[in-house]
């Protein structure tokens, strides 16, 4: 299975799901013109990844712990339900016995972005690590 790389734009986030390092990163702005079309690709990729794991349990041994990093500068309310779906897939992967760490980055002083992360974490019952960064 190939890694997933989607270049970011002014209105869509960068997506980099790297199986070799186990680092999955979503960053930037998310207010796509068609949110369903944009998130179709990462969600399909995660479904395929999940299917591979369940079909080949030996893969679990080879995989490093997965780290999912969200570095969003902005996402609209329509995008939030797709971020939840991504997190739900990762939760299933975690429940299958693979370690998954979620790192939520937010700009220094941007308490709203931190609270948005807390809302998502609550909704999927995931423990996030919150990391404040300077712009």
């Amino acid at each position: 299975m190939d890694n997933l790389i989607i270049q970011g734009t002014d209105v869509t986030p960068s997506v980099n799901f790297d199986l070799n390092s186990g680092i999955f990163e979503i960053s930037g702005v998310s207010r796509p013109e068609d949110v369903i079309v944009f998130y179709d690709q990462p969600l399909d990729w995660l479904r395929e990844f999940e299917d591979n794991l369940f079909d080949n349990p030996s893969l679990k041994v080879e995989l490093p712990e997965l780290v999912i990093m969200f570095k969003m500068s902005y996402y609209n309310s329509s995008s939030s339900k797709y971020l939840i779906q991504i997190l739900s897939h990762l939760k299933k992967i975690e429940n299958s016995g693979i370690g998954v760490a979620v790192k939520w980055y937010y700009e220094e002083g941007d308490e709203k972005m931190r609270e948005d992360g807390e809302d998502l974490a609550d909704a999927v019952e995931f423990d996030f690590e919150y990391i404040e960064y300077e712009d």
Binding site: D10, S77, K81, D110, K112, D119, A123
Partner: protein, 172 residues
Amino acid sequence: MESYKTIVDYKGILTFKTIGFLINDLKNKRAPFQIEMVLFKKLVTLMIETLENVLKYSDHFLDYVQIHPNHQPEFHLSRNGKSFTIQSSNPIKKDDIQKVKQKIDLINSLAPDEMKLLYRETITNGEFTEKGGAGLGFMEMAKITNQPIRYNFTSLSNDFSNFELILHIRKS
């Protein structure tokens, strides 16, 4: 005494591109209006959620505003002292008024903890139409402003009313 000032003003058909132009317009006004980063981010979020809400339902009223151009959507962001006001208006089908009113009234009636629960329930189990809406945009507006969402419906014709949305946020 600080006086009332318009920051962003728009009247016309909204497109996805127009929203991009209006966001850039607000970005360009940040320095002259000395809006600090945290408040600026909140204003951008409120602006986007408000405009995207109008855009989502544009196909419902496009034919109507072509015949009645004076009823085209409007967006206005202004500052009065430490207070910022966002006002938007657009035609809405009279058949849709009750649905919108119920969503906003429910959100306005909730305490912050109840809002968190509703948000969590909506985001995980909420019914989303192909337009994407399940009231998340209104919840976001209420969470950011920490105040009830003000709105008005004014009849325009047999089939349409004007939907006016008003949000206030204060500089801390």
